[in-house]
Symmetry: C2
Subunit: 151 residues, 2 copies
């Protein structure tokens, strides 16, 4: 599994050679620690840690605990977002890591979440978002998400 | 295009016959109205409207305007989430519609956003999240996200 993941992340998070603006990892974490999946504070903490360790700039975050179980939440980062939905009763978490630019390491965020959720089985898909040849760029250079500044 | 979309949404939002917990529409909206894409209040409004019209229960939402341009945000719903990232300079928005259960119409949310962003070209992908045969269900029935209650 580790070897598969290394191969998956061999490319930079947002490969401008692919002529896209964003990069998304769709991760299915199975066989997780169910008590972690039902702990909203823990989920918030590891999502924030994943964002920080990946080198992302956190803009805002929101997390919610459902009754009787399950957590949903998202961290909005200057470079897009990280989201999570958990089903403790099935030991499963659905995670999306959407990043732009080459300053954020999706691999680091992914590894942190896999380890902290104690996931025993992982399935991933990655995709490029925003194909530049489909856009109205008017000859301007392709950039990632604009810099975060007070507005 | 309309015919393609009708075909895309012929199935229910979360087809339990597919043995999955969630359903995700990954939508690429090209050739949008750029001034809409740079208006955080407008983006928040149409995302909330999309959630409501789809029959979702809104838990919380967060949106941010970047300088000099661009908006990122998410609506956390009891049935998962809707997220958006916009690049006004390219007339492009990346939208994810992640839903669970069969009470929310992803098609309605999708159509509302396409119309309100005035997108001239759309690319979509849909996927099922959380394959039940990968889970530790212990023989329990498959359910969507638990009911939203005060906790």
């Amino acid at each position: 599994m580790r070897r598969i993941l290394r191969a998956l992340f061999r490319h930079s998070p947002c490969d401008t050679a692919m002529h896209s603006l964003g990069h998304q990892i769709i991760a299915e974490f199975y066989h997780c620690n169910s008590s972690h999946l039902n702990d909203v504070d823990y989920i918030r903490q590891i999502m924030v840690e994943a964002s920080e360790q990946a080198g992302a700039t956190i803009v805002t975050e929101t997390f919610h605990h459902f009754s009787p179980h399950g957590v949903s939440g998202a961290v909005i980062i200057a470079e897009s977002h990280l989201s999570i939905h958990t089903w403790p009763e099935y030991g499963y978490a659905a995670v999306d890591l959407f990043t732009c630019g080459d300053s954020v390491s999706s691999e680091t965020a992914f590894n942190h979440l896999r380890d902290k959720l104690e996931s025993g089985q992982v399935s991933t898909m990655e995709m490029h978002r925003g194909q530049v040849d489909m856009m109205q760029s008017n000859g301007r250079p392709v950039t990632h998400k604009p810099e975060l500044k007070a507005v």
